[in-house]
């Protein structure tokens, strides 16, 4: 059977990976291509690359950095940030990305999901969204609201309704980030991920809050999420200790969670 995926997510400024807490106070981690190589050597299952200032600075995605990363890794690789139209998507795919992640732009112009899915296939379009807990209301029945523009702007949209719509429009995968849990290292928002993974049939990538291996176990046993974003655990300088992908995989396998084992093709 298809395994649960561990995904490293790079927040990129220029050509460097940074790490923030609650979308603020970004600190430098290192050059994107070098860190990508390290993650590849560690056998991460997948990589996501967000050009986090592209949208705010109203510029296009940093294609040179995408190319540099793509040359060094041979695993699936999604990019996002500053994607406005089909041409931007095509440029990113040509630079070596597999999938395109769209976030704020999809809220502003939902048609871009359908256009992208038609041009490149649904498997290529990841709807990424930032959500925050709020009072349940007729307008937001799930109690989770969609935010855009680096989690700064509330949209008044219900998160669960939005990802369902995203799937209908053609998104092949949903990446859901909990703003409340992001950077807290206190675990994923299990209630949110449970709701979301049952609401859509395309794969759900859970994001926000992983700090310990047990958080991955909780996610994969209590929800139907198929993939987990881990960033701080792998490389945040703020962590007391960082983890190797191999030790996370070993832990999960011992907990009977189906993941791609480390070093399947070579000696450990």
């Amino acid at each position: 059977m298809v395994t649960k995926r561990l995904i490293a997510c790079f927040d990129i400024i220029g050509d460097r990976v940074t790490k923030a807490v609650n979308f603020k106070d970004n600190i430098d981690v290192g050059p994107a291509d070098e860190l990508a190589s390290i993650m590849y050597e560690e056998e991460i299952d997948e990589l996501i690359f967000y050009d986090i200032t592209a949208s705010a600075e109203r510029r296009r995605l940093n294609i040179e950095t995408v190319k540099k990363v793509a040359e060094r890794i041979f695993i699936p690789f999604s990019v996002g940030g500053g994607i406005k139209n089909l041409e931007d998507m095509y440029e990113a795919l040509k630079a070596g990305a597999e999938k395109i992640s769209i976030d704020s732009m999809a809220v502003r112009n939902p048609r871009i999901i359908t256009e992208g899915a038609k041009a490149f296939g649904s498997q290529c379009i990841v709807l990424s969204t930032q959500v925050k807990r709020t009072q349940k209301s007729p307008k937001i029945p799930s109690g989770y609201e969609v935010y855009i523009d680096g989690a700064r702007v509330a949209t008044g949209m219900d998160a669960i309704e939005w990802i369902k719509r995203g799937q209908e429009l053609g998104a092949g995968e949903i990446c859901l980030n909990s703003i409340d849990n992001d950077g807290t290292l206190s675990g994923y928002d299990i209630e949110l991920m449970k709701l979301a993974s049952e609401a859509v049939s395309v794969p759900l990538i859970a994001s926000g809050g992983a700090g310990k291996p047990v958080h991955l176990k909780e996610l994969f046993t209590e929800t139907a999420a198929q993939a987990a974003i881990i960033s701080s655990m792998l490389y945040s300088p703020r962590m007391e200790r960082n983890y190797k992908v191999a030790e996370l995989k070993e832990y999960l396998l011992n907990e009977n969670i189906n993941v791609r084992p480390f070093s399947t093709g070579k000696e450990a």
Partner: protein
């Protein structure tokens, strides 16, 4: 020179990057006459079977592919949709395909599993193809899979809604349903095996008859 067929929406650049990383000279090819000069041909694939066949038609590549693969016996590797179009027919958009291998391409059972399948899955190989094919995890993104009429063409299987064809081969024709170029070291190793073959046919291996 390794030729990677370049068509709209294909992920040729990723395949090119993997092939050159392995130390081989390769180029993206979209002209029929160039294709016929290649020692190996790789047909990458993303998107739908219908769109892929249309792109090949528009580029005028169908005849050249047939000539290279069937007449000249050039080693050919189809990846993902590039493997699916090797068969007679795909259910996806009711598409007539190349017909190099007898069989059809059908959808996973949406009632039983999430579609598309997206992620790493374990592939079991029936035989070494003149180079080692080791059971390992490979990266898949697919909603459809091939059902070869001749079970001896099945090279690898994996499990999703049940066992399905993960790789095929017949003579100089190879196909992997998984993205060989995105399957880490396991994928690169298998790709290297393909690039090192000189063509020719294989025989005398076990088949998966009993499993499918």
């Amino acid at each position: 020179m390794i030729g990677i067929i370049d068509y709209k929406a294909g992920n040729g650049p990723s395949v090119l990057s993997a092939v050159t990383h392995l130390g081989y000279r390769a180029q993206l090819v979209s002209q029929p006459e160039r294709l016929l000069e290649m020692t190996h041909i790789i047909m990458p694939g993303v998107g739908s079977a219908g769109a892929t066949m249309n792109s090949l038609k528009e580029l005028g590549l169908l005849e050249a592919i047939k000539k290279a693969v069937i007449d000249n016996k050039v080693p050919f590797l189809g990846v993902c949709v590039g493997m699916q179009i090797l068969f007679d027919y795909s259910e996806e958009e009711d598409t007539g395909c190349l017909g190099f291998l007898p069989g059809r391409v059908v959808s996973f059972d949406r009632k039983k599993v999430r579609v598309p399948q997206m992620g790493w899955n374990k592939v079991f190989f029936s035989k070494d193809m003149g180079y080692e094919a080791k059971d390992d995890y490979f990266y898949f993104v697919n909603s459809y899979y091939a059902v070869p009429e001749d079970k001896s063409h099945i090279w690898g299987i994996a499990e999703y809604d049940g066992p399905f064809t993960a790789a095929v081969c017949k003579d100089n024709i190879y196909g992997t349903q998984f993205h060989i170029e995105k399957s880490g070291e396991a994928g690169l190793k298998l790709l290297k095996g393909f690039l090192s073959i000189k063509g020719g046919s294989f025989s005398g291996y076990k088949t998966f008859d009993s499993m499918l």
